[in-house]
Each structure stands twice: as structure tokens, then as C-alpha cells.
Amino acid sequence: MKPASPFRELQKGGGRVRVTFDGRTFDLREGGNLAAELLAAGIRSFRKTPVSGAERGPFCMMGACFDCLVVIDGVTRQACMCEVSAGLVIDRPGAEGEGDA
């Protein structure tokens, strides 16, 4: 079930593709901004910080703050600088309990 989102989408629908985030599947708008689409899908926290483990989500949406970091194909990326494509597998950084000590 889709988590409740505090965002309203002006345009419903659009061509959607299936992606997974943190092991869960979501249907997001193809070509949409990944951070925005994850927010619209109800995801608030994208990661835990490596320093204190605090939850973080998108803050600036313009590639400057690095709070929306996710891992795609083993590489840490800014979600707000990525576009949604079919089959994207997105992980939370430092997942699998391997965050640095």
C-alpha cells in the first residue's frame, strides 16, 4: 500500500514505470525527477546519516545539499539529480547494516 504523502499532485496519471526503493516497489512517473517522485509516493526519509543515524530527506531539490542521497547500481547519487526509469533499483545508503562505525 502506498504510504500517505503530504504532497498534492497537480497532474495525476502519466506514464508510470515500476522501480524499487529499499526493497519496496513503486510506480513512478517515467522521466520524472526521482526525488520528487519518491516524495509524491509518500517517502519522507531517504536515508540515515552516517554520523548520527538521523533521518534525512530532500532539502534543496537543486543538487546542492546532498541530503537526498540514494544508492543506484552501487553508486551514491543525489536523487534530485536523477530521472525515473523503468526497473530502477534504489537503495538507502549504508543499508544492510553496514553503515560506517
Binding site: 498534492r8 532539502f59 539529480m81
Partner: protein, 467 residues
Amino acid sequence: MLDADLIVIGAGPAGMAAARTAADAGLSVLLLDEQQRAGGQIYRDVERVPAERKKILGDDYLKGRALAEALDHPKIRHLTGAVVWQIEDGPRVAFTRDGAAGLARGKRLLIATGALERPMPVSGWTLPGVMTAGAAQILLKQSGLLCERAVLAGSGPLLYLVAAQMCRAGTPPLVLVETQTPADRRAALRHLPKALKAWRVLAKGLGLLAEIRRAGVKRYIGATGIAIHGQDKAEAISFEADGRRHQIACASVLLHHGVVPNTQATRSLSLPHVWSEAQRAFSPERDRWGRTANTDIFVAGDGGGIGGAVAAKLQGEVAALEVACDLEKISHVNRDRAAAPLRKGLAIELAARPFIDRAYPPYAKALAPADSTIICRCEEVTAGDIRRYAGLGCLGPNQTKAFGRPGMGPCQGRYCGLTVTELLAAETGRSQEDTGYYRIRPPLKPVTLGELAVLAETDLKEQEDIS
């Protein structure tokens, strides 16, 4: 190695206008921008915005469309998704695109990397659900998303613009928590006569306020003691105004107290910067054409001092004329003739700035946050840590960086740099200018070691087409 007469970094209003003006003068232009489409933040996705969003965003936004379309010119090569991570003498620019590193060399370089929102460290500002007002606007422009049950907090014209756009879309903010005071408004009045030259700007502001009022959005003026509450996401904001403490439950908090020049690129080149007391920020020194202390390198737009989108466009054109003159594509006479009306427009455009800057100063408590407030989001360093390091002899931000890691994270100090300067200046009693700023080092944006390693096999002195 890509070669061009002029390399432009940033496809916002300054960069787009400069690229076209330079191309029209006969220069080959390489435009590098990290977004997938031209526009920068102010005109984000302007070329593909759906019709129903246009009314919400307004006419000023749609003006960007002509600038973006003007990039369709045989002398302009626009590389989208190109993330610049180093600038060296040459000028030579290293960037990453589609997972591969690239190099470009230009006879001249124009840095048009715009502005960042002034960091607004308040208790709880790192919680998910707290964003900049600019972020909310980007979500609207690019993705048609509106924050429901949102509170806008801070000060400045962008706060009103975002609020008005939310009202137009039928999703007004719960309240506006404004930090400027009636005393600020009174103090700003002496700048008003001059500002009237820019009557359009002022009229727009009044129009936005009227829209917000009509939508019935409550405004608190002179708010202080702002704190955001929540366990793992923002759930409420509290503040003092009208002589009492308020707490408002909400789903999002949108912060804004002005924008400041994004000086990462110019700092990385160790170019001289000056402190502007009026704008409470550093900007690179440049002459009236936008030329910096490095004669091959220019800065146009908000990255050289906040003036807004129209001023940025005009500055981009002025800088491009000077580059064209440098490279002997136009004469001094033609340069000056073409620049005269642009300068006139700039003067009008900038006339309202002193009024706006004085009427909407930064939120004082965010310039000197409480000890427990995180000021470096990446490394989770608090204001109290900085004050403690000042006590251990740190005079400047590069010393506190070594002592406690503020500015060492991936954002490279973008959202803590000015706060650290302000905190140290207050602690040591020295000026912000003397306190200084981070020495910015490459990469300006992270690059993978794999992408970087490939360059080791390229002879960096040899020219070859890697496009």
C-alpha cells in the same frame, strides 16, 4: 578535450543569455549545465511545463522560455547533465556526463552558477519534511507537486511568491511565519524613493501580498524563537510572535531568508571575494563587465551578487559582449553601443535591491543559532562546537573545518559556510571579511574514483575529442 571560444557554466538566465549573445557575435560556445534541461532554478523545466501549471507559476517564469529556445543556435553546444567538478587555469574545465569524465578548454570562461538559499539553521531544520522554499518551487515547476499543510518561515520576496503560487493552486500554506520586523520596514523606507525606479518589482510584491491576503493566509510578523519539532519528520513548528508562543502542527516546513551567491566555483579558483554587509554574503570581485581578477574568467548573474533573474540575463549579455570584444569579434565601439541599453536596464532592475535587502534582512537567530543547533548538515556540527573551537584558537573557517569537520561533507560547505563565518566573526570580534571563508577544493561535486581514474590514461596536455 572539447574546445570552445567561450565555456559557460550554468544554463540559468545569465548563462543562457550570455551563450546566445556570444554565439550571435560569432563565438563558439560550450554551455555546461548539470540539469537535463535549460533554465537554471528560476526557469526550471520552462520548456516543457504543462499548460495548467503556467497560470500558477505566472508570466515572469514563462519569460525564461525565450531564453531557453534561443540556445538553438549552430554556434552553441549545450551539454545537459554535465556536472563540472574542477576548473583550472587554461581555463580548463573537468566534468562528468553519463558516467564518463570529460575535459573542455575555452579561451574564456563564464561562471553563471547562480545563487543558493541562505542557510537557515534553526532547531529541527534537518528533519525530513523541512525544505527550502526554493525546493518547494522546484517541486511545483518541474513535477507539479504542492506541499499540503505547509508552513512558510523566514523572510523575503521568494516567500511571498511561493505562498502566492500555492494559493493560486488551491493549496495555500497554513501560515506565514515572517521574521522581519516593523522596524526593518521603517528602516527600509529611506531606500524607497530610489526603489520606485523599479516600480514593476514593487508592484509585483504588492500583488503577491494581496493574493495571500485574499486567500486568508495568516501572517505573523517579527517572529522569533523558531523551532521545528518531530521525531523522524517535521510535525510542527513553534515560534514567538505577537507577544506569545505559537505551535502549529504541519506536514512540511519551507524555510527561506534570502538567497546568496553560489561562490563554490570562484572560491575554488582562489579569486578575491568581498563581503557585502547589505546582502550579508561574499561575492567575487569583478569589473563592470563581469571580469574577475583572473582576466580569462567572468562571472554573471546571482553568483556575483544577488540581483534576480532579469539582472542576471542582462549581466550575461554584458559579459558576452566583453568576451566577444576580447576575442576581436566586435569592436570596442560596438561593444559599448550594445552594452549601453543593457546597463540602463540593469540600473533599473537593481534599484529595488537596497530596499528589499533592508526590508527583509536575514533571520538574526539563524545567523547566531543556539549552541545545540546543527549548522553543518553533512557532518552534524553544532553552533556550540564552532564557538568551542573559537575558544581553542580557531580564527577562521579552515581551522574549524580541521577541528570539527564542518564543511568537509559532500555539500562542501554550501549550507554551513556563511554560518561558520558569522559565528566565528561574532566570537573573535573580527569582521566577516577578515574571518574569511572555506578554501574550496575540487571536486566541486562528487565524482567517482572510477570516472576520475580514466583521466589518468588521457594525456591531459594532449587535445583529443572525447565527445
